[in-house]
Subunit: 478 residues, 2 copies
């Protein structure tokens, strides 16, 4: 569609902002609305290291009503708002550009109820992911979303960014873990009835529209999460494979033949494997020799004995048919943890490769191998000595690429990005598989979205937030 309604950037003078903050504080009180002098030193940047200004005030609501009241006042005064969760984002979506108030969900932290018959949990949006995981476990269920930031990130942030992680292949993204959300719109009205129905076709899917909108359409205040049966058996193997066709064959065969399906299928290219084993001495090589690809295969299920036998039979078949060149089966939790430690090595990047350029892209599963080849070849041609690490969740097409060379000038990062995003654009991939757009990927969003799609996004934004109060300047390119 044609762009008829680009939301205007809302910019208040400092006097106007002061009046808005004054009205907020008068109505909600000094406990909820805190002034800059009172929160000096507080961090407002996320894990992406995107620079952040200080907000003109910090709102710390305790209830949905507080949020609704705050937005009514902001709407009246034209005061822009940035919602903050655990500040663990990787795209700069929660940083302050200047002139906004910050609204943190940190006090809306807690589990309201667990429905063990309906397998549903109602939580406040500021609840950390790990708290939810532990409460689900204690109630005899699993909450499957899992990320490295689990201790700090919040359910509201997971929803705002439609978080992914390692188990998407089996359980889906965050949007698949949610039955309903409650949210406050830009004018302070509250939508979402915290309903628990799995089947509910009653008009537009506002829930999915708000999920992944990165704080630009609403402030999510509560959610009904869907709980899953707790797995009683985990089978894990580390596999070496001879070529990319073997990798996709293994994926398909595992999905079709493992009784409990595939709960993780993590692919690592040899450059990644060699690098992390060389640099992290606590890691042990699961296999002898070197392979063209490494796969961490996991299957989570209900029936320990039968599952273990089926998993072993499957691996034996794959070895015999040459799909797998070599494999190590985890015979204990410690074995499995040692395999996962190799895949989780990126947690050490800040120490090992502080100046890295990182990518979170995705492709059709068919294209992932070729996409990785093209990126690596073009990067290598230009920077022959660069460290290039490639790995990803192949089952959902998600590829992580990390590029680094010591002593690169600051001008190199944009050149590296041009190479990788260039391949992403030409192969119809996504410039953001799971981290979102925020501020960091605004410039490349058009590689994955057509002008008509961007126009439709702007029209929806203008419809639900006509004054552009919610997280202005993020997600939607100007």
């Amino acid at each position: 569609m044609q762009d008829t309604a680009t939301p205007a950037a809302a910019a208040l003078t400092s006097e106007q902002s002061a009046r808005a903050v004054g009205a907020l504080r008068d109505t909600l009180g000094a406990d909820v609305v805190v002034l800059p002098a009172e929160f000096a030193g507080r961090k407002h940047a996320d894990w992406s290291r995107t620079p952040s200004a200080d907000p003109v005030a910090l709102i710390r609501p305790r209830t949905t009503e507080h949020v609704a009241t705050a937005m009514k006042i902001c709407h009246q005064y034209g005061q822009p708002v940035v919602t903050q969760g655990g500040l663990t984002g990787l795209a700069g979506g929660a940083c302050i550009l200047g002139g906004e108030v910050a609204l943190t969900l940190e006090r809306m932290n807690g589990i309201e109820s667990i429905d063990t018959v309906g397998a549903a949990m109602t939580v406040l949006a500021g609840t950390p992911l790990q708290t939810v995981q532990e409460a689900a476990d204690a109630a005899g269920f699993m909450f499957p979303l899992d990320l490295g930031a689990r201790g700090s990130c919040t359910i509201g942030g997971n929803l705002a960014t439609n978080a992914g992680g390692n188990r998407v292949i089996r359980y889906g993204m965050m949007r698949e873990q949610v039955l309903d959300v409650e949210a406050v719109l830009a004018d302070g009205s509250v939508v979402g009835g915290l309903r628990k129905m799995i089947k509910n076709n009653t008009g537009y899917d506002l829930r999915n529209l708000l999920i992944g909108s990165e704080g630009t359409l609403a402030i999510i205040t509560r959610a009904v999460l869907r709980l899953r049966p707790k797995p009683h058996a985990v089978s894990t193997a580390w596999c070496g494979l001879p070529n990319y066709d073997a990798v996709t064959t293994l994926l398909r065969e595992a999905q079709e033949r493992l009784p409990a399906g595939v709960s993780a299928f993590e692919v690592m290219w040899p450059g990644y494997y060699d690098f992390v084993l060389q640099r992290l001495h606590e890691l042990r090589a699961p296999l002898e020799g070197r392979h063209a690809y490494y796969v961490l295969l996991e299957s989570n299920g209900a029936d320990p004995e039968r599952q273990a036998a089926a998993f072993e039979d499957f691996l034996a078949d794959m070895l015999e048919s040459g799909v797998i060149a070599d494999a190590a089966l985890a015979s204990s939790e410690a074995d499995a943890a040692a395999f996962w430690a190799i895949r989780d090595a990126p947690g050490e990047y800040p120490r090992l490769i502080p100046g890295r350029v990182s990518f979170d892209v995705s492709f059709s599963i068919t294209d992932v191998g070729e996409a990785a080849n093209r990126c690596e070849a073009r990067l290598r041609a230009r920077w022959p000595n660069a460290t290039i690490l490639v790995y990803g969740h192949l089952g959902d097409g998600n590829l992580h690429i990390v590029v680094h060379e010591p002593d690169w000038p600051p001008t190199t990062a944009p050149e590296v990005q041009q190479v990788v995003y260039g391949v992403t654009g030409e192969m119809g991939g996504s410039v953001s598989a799971e981290h979102g757009i925020g501020l960091k990927k605004l410039k490349v969003l058009a590689l994955s979205r057509t002008p008509a799609e961007l126009a439709a996004m702007r029209a929806v934004k203008a419809a639900l937030d006509p004054l552009s109060l919610l997280n202005p300047g993020k997600l939607i390119p100007p």
Copy 2:
């Protein structure tokens, strides 16, 4: 949010419509744009028996470009459009109110490609569901959506209504079966790049906004469908249970303990069971005696031998612990088909109970038992001799209720609806679990959606279809 922008009903004079149709025919030709005299006798009502007028013209596009051109012209002339698929809907969403052109996807029928590595199929929106199921099967996969209307309904209609069916408990609704959609918006612009990524966080989820919007936001022209591994083993049992707690216990235990999970969990109340066995003589009772509830339990998996053993072990445990009072295990496909025939008996309703009043509601799984009790008690108090049939897909909270008494006057149906929708409203249920709102449920939508949600829906509608050209008068109450 406040209602600031209710889409106006677009009403053209017959002269204005004639000009619009003339422009459509001049541009797209007489092959694509057909006049009333040329389609006399063609049906425009769906399976809900909602009365339908004739459209002022019938557009039969062969390509997305045809659809885009048609919408550009309709946009220019203010001509409203009703999109039609297989006309198997149950809510009157595709019927003609008067003055619209009908746009049928019947010529956009076919599978464009199957990606066996990425497990994805690209199809035209007019392709029948059964064609997709058969093509997936031939390629070694399964397309899990399944409905009684499979031979006639189209993928576009399944998307427009977010179709459900029997396998939602395991595979989700139609929106979970789709990687991307291509669609034409009201102004003729085309959105959706037919991308195959499972992880793709690049802005607002337009795909899910269009899915389930019942033709009011866009015309879906193509889709990339997600294929699933083909199951190699099916275990089926018919169970009699002593009370509703036992039903929910069986559901939870089956989900947690069956290695391949639960692919169907169909619950039938004894009134339903007695009625269909009495009236359909080809049905055989799987168990002796009468039970408080009947459950058809199915588990689809990868490993025939181990799965059968695990399924039998599970049933034995449930019998021993008293959760199940009695059970029959299908030992052949014929046995399983005989069990399913009892659940599929509603296909005979048009013959058996032509004047019935039917409901497709959903509740939290916890509430389904109580909701059914309340409905039945209140209906029985008012109409002691009515036939009341209750059954549903418990795993997703979906309850079907059918009420009938011979020789009811036409005024009774609204009274029956008041009872059942009253219970639905007071228990926070959904007035439409899977059939959609269309025209038939416009009046009760407000029982499941708050005024703020309806206002947000209207704002989105006005943003994407400001002239209210697409299926006006449906889905959104005036």
